[in-house]
Symmetry: C2
Subunit: 486 residues, 2 copies
């Protein structure tokens, strides 16, 4: 005998997946705002720490923390009380996704919206939104295609203005989300409720017990990503708030309006739209490709997220540059990428094969069908039926006036005689007899429905009979043989 | 051993089905027009002949005819020529379904349509159409429910005005159609083309080789049916043409208009609509219940036929008083029957069980799915793969850099390494090894789609390995075991 085949070392492979098996380039986060949308336990690990750490030190620290929390529980494991609620809250995120927008709403009462400012806001909303979906998400987090410098600069610039953190942070937590979907390690774990997956997860401190890592060394290899991360705070403030303020002020003297509407409001709307991918897209809609996990397809989610709403597809085929595959589905991000490739700004667009896509569809439909089948009455399975010998059938036929033998199976049709669409006399002629041929084309080739009905009337199987449960198939064989007659 | 169970005598049973096993009431056909929509070979058998004939005389005559046609071919078996075309045509039907309408169109040029006459025509069209669908078809031909005298009189009266023959004739050929659907015995055999099933069948003489009979003794038991049949010609002429002429003439002095529009035109439209059930309903639309025969469901057919367009359903469930089962489908005939039952005019409404209906849907969907499945690549079946022992796997792994063992199956992933959405390094770590656990949750619980992809890369099976082709199921079992981890 040969020796066993070596198994992949799970610990080593996890280190590869987390990117902790090799030194990672040092990239210093650009201040607190760079950490938005990463959660605290993750924020505590800086890039250089990641680089230095190997699996053993990580494991050692996990053990340490476990010990610590076995004595004193982490804040996330304690109930919310009047005394500790402020410890539960992630105040940085609170300011960036709630306090600033509320301030914006308050200021808005003093500043009427001008239509030029509105147009500016909508324009920046579109540029920012597409930078998140086409850039942050499909380009960087999923490597669904490659992009030349101008497009990457565009994405990094306008993406920063969405106040959702740097590409590096965003890509990391998104990869963790895909890798750990619907587990406690999933940062936006949809199983914990709509609110939690929408904003709750970023407003309260998470449990470090469930920390997770994903390899993002390929992101850090891109100088655009590194530069954006380093200068994130200033870039974000400039693109998100100062730029719209200056444009609206310089050209039509609406500094405050530009700040409020094309700045704060725009950022708020983009944030909410992005959050919808984590909440709505895991809650409403169909699951045409797989229903073992929460992601769902819904046109509504697609509308608010520039086409990211076909999320059931996306979780099955994450590195496909498309989210929608049918022409009538709404996926402007896909069109942007496709158009960019036509003018040479994007290349290497990845798609999953049509075969793989249709396999998913077929398997999911099969599941649904199996569920429907299980809820219907298909007649007693033959193996659960009593076996009668012929003598017993004769005897019984004298007592009960509605026994008909078809395909080696005894059916009690007494309750159906007067219901028979072909008339009572024909069934009466057949009771106590073998009606296989008559029923299967000799007199009338019954519909598939009639064969189903017949099965529900099974009561016994004839010993040594030519038994076949699929009477419709038996009929088709009989008909094929007598084809010449027609 | 017991003696064999007697089989149903096919000849006897066919006699029962044809109604030739017992004397049938004598009902004299009311002139040539009563025979409309029956075809010539049928028309030659009058009701009293049927009553006198037993199976033996029928068989004898069949033999006789066979002999006759073996010498001289029946007109229907001869090609159409300049010399014999007038022998091919069924002139009675030609007059009733083509000549009269053409005459009507010609007269119409001289007689402008008045709106009152139009309303009368539409009213009579509705009353006539519903009498065919609710009366001729569902009540009498299919016994889908029972009706009290007033409703039967209503149907018989307005049904006569549709110039489609008597209930007796109509019901007979319709039962033959259902019993012999898609065979040469089917009077409107859809397999012979759209035109043939629409009107061709009644305009040319059929081949008596394919004559067929159905038992209609239950129809003849109804005195309304007998009376209508006896007086058909006068009743038809009166209801179809004279009545609308008189009404329009007496009340708004439009005798000619009443005759043309509310008489001839109305009859023409109803005829065409009815013919559509034989043609359109076997040609356009979906087959949600069964696709082994031609009938189809289509909203368009339903619209022109007062709801008879769900013909795939109808051929599976002919004695169901409904044709449409969903609330949003158009079936006014069903509503008429249902409303009649609410006011006591109809009773004993028959439906097939929801179970039987859903069984049909499920089976048909399964067929479609199986067809789709068969067109996709699911990877080489394990039984067609070579069996490698472990030694051979080691050896091969040295040559080819992309062999991965998962679930006892060897996969060649070399072409996929750089395509891997989880990154190339993870696959590289796994080559030459058993990656079952890593692939199935140890590092990442792959999507169903990934498992499908994996299957397409199979190249061999490991001897004495723990082989399972359903790697997704294997993964789900593994995940269930380590549930506690999340
Ligand atoms: C024993 C159980 C039987 C069941 C459950 C049954 C069921 C049905 C059903 C559901 C139909 C409606 C049409 C269709 O679905 O195809 C039908 C019609 C008919 N059946 Fe049966 N049948 C039985 C036995 C027989 C036998 C033994 C005969 C002949 C000896 C027979 C002859 C006919 C005929 C002639 C029709 C009329 C076809 C038509 O006009 O649509 N049936 N039967
Ligand atoms: C050998 C054949 C393999 C195939 C065909 C394959 C296929 C895929 C596919 C299609 C995805 C996209 C996400 C999904 O569909 O679930 C994926 C992601 C991934 N795979 Fe694999 N994989 C293979 C091997 C491996 C191995 C051996 C490992 C681990 C040792 C691994 C780890 C991962 C990880 C970590 C991801 C990223 C999850 C994410 O961010 O979405 N894969 N793989
Ligand atoms: Fe998601
Ligand atoms: Fe994603
Ligand atoms: Fe039909
Ligand atoms: Fe019918």
């Amino acid at each position: 005998m040969s020796s066993a085949i070596e198994s992949v070392d799970i610990t080593d492979a996890n280190a590869v997946a987390a990117g902790t098996n090799k030194p990672v380039r040092r990239v210093v986060a650009g201040g607190v705002a760079g950490k938005l949308m990463g959660y605290k336990a993750m924020v505590n690990i800086t890039a250089d720490e990641l680089a230095k750490e190997n699996l053993n030190t990580l494991l050692a620290r996990d053990r340490e923390e476990k010990l610590k929390y076995s004595k004193q529980k982490h804040i996330s494991e304690q109930p919310w009380t009047f005394g500790n609620w402020h410890q539960h809250v992630n105040w940085l995120n609170f300011v960036l996704v709630l306090a600033i927008p509320i301030m914006g709403f308050a200021l808005a009462t003093r500043c009427p919206l001008q239509w030029k400012t509105a147009v500016l806001g909508v324009t920046l909303y579109i540029l920012g939104g597409l930078s998140i979906t086409g850039g942050y998400h499909r380009l960087w987090a999923h490597k669904a295609y490659s992009a030349h410098l101008p497009l990457r600069l565009f994405y990094a610039f306008f993406g920063a203005g969405c106040v959702e953190g740097s590409i590096k942070w965003w890509g990391h937590s998104h990869r963790v989300h895909h890798r750990y979907t619907d587990t406690r390690r999933d940062p936006y774990d949809a199983r914990r409720g709509f609110w939690y997956s929408h904003m709750g997860w970023m407003l309260e401190k998470p449990n470090p017990r469930y920390r997770a890592r994903a390899d993002i060394s390929d992101l850090v290899d891109d100088w655009v990503v590194r530069a954006q991360h380093r200068h994130y705070i200033s870039l974000m403030l400039f693109v998100a708030f100062i730029l719209p303020c200056l444009i609206a002020g310089y050209f039509w003297n609406d500094y405050l309006g530009g700040f409020i509407y094309a700045g704060i409001f725009k950022a708020f709307v983009i944030q909410q739209a992005t959050f919808c991918v984590n909440s709505l897209a895991h809650w409403i809609g169909e699951q045409p490709f797989d229903d073992t996990r929460t992601p769902r397809d819904h046109i509504l989610t697609a509308f608010v997220t520039f086409g990211e709403g076909y999320h059931n597809f996306h979780h099955e085929f994450p590195s496909d540059y498309r989210n929608a595959i049918k022409w009538y589905q709404y996926d402007p991000t896909k069109i942007l990428i496709w158009a960019s490739s036509k003018i040479g700004l994007a290349y290497n667009l990845k798609t999953f094969s049509q075969n793989a896509i249709e396999q998913g569809l077929v398997q999911q439909q099969q599941k649904k069908l199996d569920r429907m089948k299980a809820s219907l009455n298909w007649g007693t399975p033959l193996s659960s039926l009593p076996v009668w010998d012929k003598e017993y059938f004769f005897e019984k036929s004298k007592e009960t006036k509605g026994l008909v033998l078809i395909s080696g199976i005894v059916h009690d049709v007494s309750g159906f005689i007067t219901e028979h669409p072909g008339g009572a006399p024909l069934i009466r002629t057949s009771t106590g007899k073998d009606a296989t041929t008559a029923f299967s084309g000799g007199v009338y080739a019954h519909s598939n429905a009639a064969h189903n009905l017949l099965a529900t009337m099974r009561i016994a199987v004839i010993k040594d009979g030519d038994v076949d449960a699929d009477t419709f198939k038996v009929q088709e064989q009989l008909l094929r043989r007598k084809k010449g007659d027609f």
